[in-house]
Symmetry: C2
Subunit: 394 residues, 2 copies
């Protein structure tokens, strides 16, 4: 708890929506109304909690609580699912004596199943009672689904006016390919900051962190990143340096959380750090990086610690990015392996066998066509991913 | 051999480019120069044989031989690989006493490895000697890589002027997601037909067959469909009915070959027949079908015979196709499972358990927004796919 920003309390409880033997419900409470910012999934099917959170945020950016459950997504549950979601935050509002409009709900889990109201009725009073007795680690554990470890990150920075903290937690391991926002992540700060600036900072940080990772190319119906700034430190951003530092701290927290998602990718054993430079423009760089990071053939080669650069090059060639094949340079784990349209002369197997054993593998691609850049973190593809996702209704 | 069109001879040989214990080289020879048509990969990196075949076809559409090897792709091998390819067809031209420009080469296999000229020197004389002693099945076997069965298809039709035959063979099981043409396929006919018409017929047939399948979303550097019409039946297309029948026969041969590729998908156990209707336009229909067919989560659910429709709906939602979620209807294996924004009321597990046991599964999606349609065949994703592709340098 020591690294939580001031003025925030956490709680966790066992509601039994799907899991029977572990906490599956978390609450974030700000003692005073906080400025809230949010970025949401671009999936056309938006889960009930996404719809309610968006509506509440549009109503007012002063938010006091985040209510998060794991195991059921409450997505594609029609008007009934929407009513269920509204009822649950009304119940919580009564217990906390705040307005339902100042609560943002978020859910992950199986799509298309309604959540029994009795679970809410039984668990919410205990959840509220638990407030302040729960660590960041425990709250991050309560929002896990197929995750294998809880994911948190924090930064403390010194602004002109004094010290402020940023803290975040996230969950996510499968159905990960944010096109705008992805998965669930929650970031808290005690910095004094107003709504529009906070929203802009969050959007930028999310774009370069959560939106720049992929596990399986699937964008979920429930993805969202919610951020609360409650001003409890009484310290705001005064100078340009302050703004830069705060923006950097937020970005670093988001980036660290995003990395943890890829590290915990379902069945994953590797994290590819794919950097594309020299693209005609940033959109082409993004296309190239995503074609490589989402290629099942590149992913399985990485799992097999096989320096099969031909698959990377083939993915670039079908990416839709424009470039001259003769100008492309590719480095794997820091060693150049392809240039001038052909392989670099060396004993590929001997050179790369030790390098590809690490969990983190750099893939540096220079398209030799301009200044466009993009950076993407991607997992590998393993039999364990198949096992997890072909298990009936995982 | 009985179903080959007239005037064509086949041959196979063991060249040892990669495989040691099986034929890996096939030759198609037309006794008279045939009108040739071809569609080629849209991958920016084009393999040496693709470059040579394109150039030869541009030089003249009168072609007499197809030379096809398996095991090495001769892709991304630079100017040396290109010279190797040219030398191999010059050798064959000498043995057959035809011009090198009337031979189209094609290769599949590992990217980035040069093919030793000694293998060509040793194997080509025997290959030419074998001409006419090889069945369609044997030739189709010689071009296989990770394929588990040879793939051929044929049609015999009665035109105004008499009987003509269409015969084709193909290979392909991984790196399959044609964006224009895909994998290797060869179609022969003894119909009398001229170049531009033959090319137009092939392009249309390929678009609705080979270009409408996916195994893993990866488009290869070597994909091509080559078609020869040698006129040996002395029967041409005279009436509109003749043209329609010939076009249909060509399409059916291509479609049957394309289906066999998906059936033989690396590690595959299912073929999803994904039909999207009611899209705003055909591009949106294509986007929606491809998002579903390439989703690792949908593919693993199919492998697990799990009617997890939420994953199909989530894939539609991120596809980029425009539609109103409330109007979407989804049927699985012929039974409606999702409409009006929520699940159809039934015991999903009981209803679908028997239906999802079949190899072929229909996925019918109505986006309720217009007349756009698209049909895609897609494989599932299994541990065996991972095993095949994470095996060192498969």
């Amino acid at each position: 708890m020591h690294d939580l920003p001031q003025g925030f309390d956490l709680a966790a409880a066992q509601a039994g929506f799907r899991y029977r033997d572990r906490p599956d419900l978390a609450l974030v409470f700000s003692r005073v109304p906080a400025r809230a910012a949010g970025v949401f999934t671009t999936n056309t099917f938006q889960a009930a909690p996404v719809q309610v959170a968006r509506a509440n945020l549009e109503g007012s950016d002063l938010i006091q609580a985040l209510l998060v459950n794991a195991g059921q997504a409450n997505a594609c549950t029609g008007v009934d699912g929407l009513a269920d979601c509204r009822k649950s935050i009304e119940m919580l509002a009564g217990l906390l004596d705040i307005s339902a409009g100042s609560i943002l709900p978020a859910s992950t889990g199986v799509i298309g199943v309604r959540m029994p109201m009795s679970c809410w009725e039984i668990s919410l009073p205990g959840l509220v009672e638990n407030l302040g007795k729960c660590t960041g680690e425990q709250a991050a554990t309560a929002i896990m689904t197929t995750d294998t470890f809880p994911k948190t990150a924090s930064r403390e920075i010194e602004l002109e006016g004094g010290r402020v903290r940023f803290w975040g937690m996230t969950k996510g391991a499968g159905m990960i390919c944010p096109d705008m926002a992805t998965m669930l992540a929650f970031v808290l700060t005690d910095t004094e900051i107003n709504g529009p600036e906070w929203q802009a900072m969050l959007r930028q940080a999310a774009e370069q962190s959560f939106n720049a990772i992929t596990v399986d190319g699937d964008t979920s119906t429930n993805d969202c990143v919610l951020a609360l700034a409650n001003g409890a430190s009484a310290v705001g951003c005064r100078t340009r340096d302050d703004w830069n530092m705060a923006g950097k701290a937020l970005y670093e927290v988001c980036r660290e959380l995003a990395y943890q998602i890829v590290k915990d990718a379902e069945g994953g054993t590797k994290v590819m750090h794919i950097r594309v430079t020299g693209a005609a423009n940033s959109l082409d760089a993004r296309k190239a990086a995503r074609a490589v990071g989402n290629s099942s053939l590149v992913k399985t080669a990485m799992f097999g610690t096989d320096p099969n650069w031909g698959r990377i090059v083939a993915a670039l060639g079908r990416s839709g990015a424009g470039f001259d094949p003769a100008n492309v340079r590719l480095s794997l784990a820091g060693r150049e392996i392809f240039c001038n349209g052909g392989p670099v002369d060396m004993d590929v197997d001997e050179v790369f066998a030790p390098l590809l054993k690490s969990r983190d593998i750099r893939v540096d691609i220079d398209l030799g066509s301009g200044d466009g850049e993009y950076f993407l973190m991607a997992s590998d593809l393993t039999p364990e991913y198949i096992r997890i996702n072909s298990d009936y209704r995982s």
